[in-house]
Amino acid sequence: MSSYKGFQFKTYDFSKKIDTTVDLIDLIDELVGGDIKSRPEQVQWIFDPLLQAIEELKFCQANPDKVVYRHFTFAPEMIYAMDCVSFVPEALTFILPTEYLCALVDEGRDLGMPDHWCGFLGGVLAPLMYKRLPQPKAILHCNQPCDNSVAQGTVLAETFPDTEMFILDNPYTDDEEAVQFCADQLREGFSYMERMTGNKLDLDRFREVMKNSARAYELIYEINELKKVSPCPIPTSAILRVTSVAFYALTGTERLVKWLEKHLADAKERVAKGIGGFREEKLRVVWTMSWPVFDYSVYDWMEEEHGAIAVAYHSAEPFYQPPPDLDYSTASYDELLRLLALRNNNHSMGRQGRGSLNTFVNDNIKWCQEFKADGAIFAGHWQCQANWSSAQITKEKLADQGIPMLMMMVDQLDPRVVSSDQMASRLDPFLEMLTDRKMAR
């Protein structure tokens, strides 16, 4: 039973023996896809990116010669431009039912995986090593956001020794030099893709993909602008999971653009009517770093109990400015590469992880100020070393601005480490304090 002050959170059954050898793609299709399709039509659209991601997984299963492995912070546009489909092993950890994921993490530990290894990558160690996932034609990897990703590269290299990998060295800085460095590497990346897949890069196709990508970022920018309005028109939980899947996996596709247009129209309508998400907005918080993939009802609890809406979250706010203006019908290869470099360098989680701690600090200050937050919640995945080492300074710098920050340890994927009710018990006094402060003002 997982409850806090009468609020019922999701419960799990870890006593059942899980068969981890089942086809994970079929399982996701059946359980997650099936669940989405069974929902009422008026809410089904919200989950469309998830359905699209599942369809891509199914496509990979059926078309092994089109499968390109991709790290979750390597922008997918390159793959769409090359007319292939990306397979992101780590994405399974976002989508899989919790009990399965935990069983996979345990299996990874049985293989000798260090206990502290982040479940994002550790959750797929066993399926990779036991070769239960599709064989890739090519592998695009990178070394952001963290050492876990570099270590994951070892897993892929050892699992698929005959498949050459393309590895993007993510830069440390955010200057023009860093963009150029990334663009130069992406040029090498396209040659690699041509060599590995036998497909020739079609510039028009690349233009179209980058146009869709830029449009998606424009839309998310507009949606974010609307979230600055009080009451915030978008509830925290309903959209968070989907938006993160969309931006980690689907940028460059037309279907994502259509979804975001609907999302924006919905938000605009709410703003026009002066209505918020589900419940009355009393507190505005910035939720930074990890979110409990296993149970979004923590956000429902925050809203119900404290009227606290997470108006900005680290992993669903990937772009900070609208993308630069460009005429996509005539854009040159170099211009497109530059845009794709910007996209990679600003990938959420990647951006804060690859760079200096000041990027993390400044991004958080910016979000809190722009979104008029009453407080910030750093929910740090317990193994996330670089971000934990940025948190204390962020807290101090936010305090200088009069914005309190809670530092809370979580495991993004595994409720056995920190459960929803434990999270609620940490959040409760903090949110109470924010309410008192607000009332006193």
């Binding site: 000798g112 502290h116 050892e158 992880g353 934990w388």
Partner: protein, 376 residues
């Protein structure tokens, strides 16, 4: 005092006695974090390159304020603690790089909290792609320009040339010392060699060359150790600490070789220097030498090196180590274990270490049991 003892003393001291002499002469000392930052360039600028270490730290309270001990490696925390408690106040500056997440953030926190007089971050790519090698060349050129400005004098190609020659001589002499361990009964212990390597990254290179030449003469006179010992290789990371070496050697083993960073990795490969392409050759050489798991997907290469070194040094057993919370060496453990069947040599189960607050008894028991198991 002979060269051996002098080098051991230097290796044990943090700082060692040469630092004081260097400073008294009015010269600068620059700390650097990792072996992917070429000391050749720092030395060519006229400063003593001093690789920062954690030895001497007895706790990590101040470092832990910013770097949670629940997920961060105790080595960089120990280094940061020493910076907090003033041990590194003699440094005129500190150079960081992206070795691992822990050391990168520890450097940044040093800068943020302690405002050293000079600091610079060298970005080092993790691959050898064309664009990445070029990026490292650009980074090294930038580093040189920044040092030129800091010292008010330009590093000319002759300075760099001489510095590279000195450091290559260091490596060659250290390798000669290392090769003595191919003998059945090496004249010194692996613990002593580890101190020598620690000294080698923190004393002036001419002084090191002089002492190493003397040492080689001393060693030529020394009788071989009497009894036959179990020959152990350490693979992984133990930092500048000597506990694991001591535990093995107190149990009747001898550490004949390692692939560690404070170890063979730092001297086995000479820098492949081309005077006509100075920075290019330095960059290529550093990215291509005996690698560290920070380099992307490089395990196979390292496994090959381990196999080869194990053969060359006639190794009886391999002790595999890592520090707690190290992702990079952590995954190495998984695959070394997977491939152990390919080697005809016993491999210990992973010895997970804490740099600070080590449970010495546990390490000694584990090493004793492993040496005993090999002896049969």
């Amino acid at each position: 005092m002979g060269a051996l003892q002098t080098l051991i003393n230097y290796g044990e001291g943090n700082p060692n006695a040469t630092v004081g002499e260097w400073k008294r002469a009015g010269d600068k000392v620059l700390g650097y974090w990792c072996s992917y930052i070429p000391p050749e360039i720092i030395y060519a600028a006229g400063a003593l390159p001093y690789r920062v270490r954690g030895c001497g730290a007895t706790g990590t309270d101040k470092a832990d304020h910013d770097m949670s001990p629940v997920c961060n490696c105790s080595f960089p925390r120990a280094v940061l603690e020493l910076a907090h408690n003033g041990t590194y106040d003699y440094l005129d500056g500190i150079i960081g790089m992206n070795g691992c997440d822990h050391s990168r953030r520890a450097f940044e926190l040093w800068v943020e909290r302690l405002s050293p007089p000079f600091h610079h971050f060298v970005y080092v790519p993790r691959t050898q792609k064309k664009a990445s090698v070029q990026k490292y060349v650009d980074e090294l050129n930038k580093f040189k320009t920044i040092l030129d400005k800091f010292f008010g004098a330009e590093i000319n190609s002759e300075d760099l040339h001489e510095s590279v020659a000195l450091y290559n001589e260091n490596r060659g002499l250290l390798k000669k010392v290392q090769e003595l361990f191919k003998r059945d009964n090496p004249p010194i212990t692996g613990t002593q060699r580890h101190h020598i390597v620690n000294a080698s990254v923190s004393i002036p290179p001419q002084e090191l060359n002089r002492l190493l030449r003397e040492l080689l003469e001393e060693l030529a006179q020394m009788p071989p150790s009497a009894d036959k010992k179990v020959r152990i290789m350490i693979a992984g990371w133990v930092g500048d600490d000597t506990l694991v070496h001591q535990a093995i050697e107190d149990s009747g083993g001898v550490v004949v070789i390692d692939n560690c960073c404070f170890g063979a990795r730092s001297f086995m490969d000479p820098l492949q220097y081309d005077p006509d392409q100075q920075m290019e050759s330095i960059a290529r050489s550093y990215l291509g030498r005996m690698s560290c798991p920070r380099m992307f997907a490089s395990f196979s290469e390292r496994f090959g090196e381990i196999e080869q070194l194990a053969k060359e040094y006639n190794v009886d057993g391999i002790v595999h180590t890592r520090l707690q919370f190290c992702d990079l060496h952590g995954i190495e453990n998984v695959f070394l274990n997977q491939r152990k069947g390919q080697m005809d040599i016993p491999l210990s189960s992973t010895l997970v270490l804490d740099y600070i607050g080590q449970d010495e008894g546990r390490v000694r028991t584990r090493m004793e049991a492993f040496v005993e198991q090999i002896r049969g």
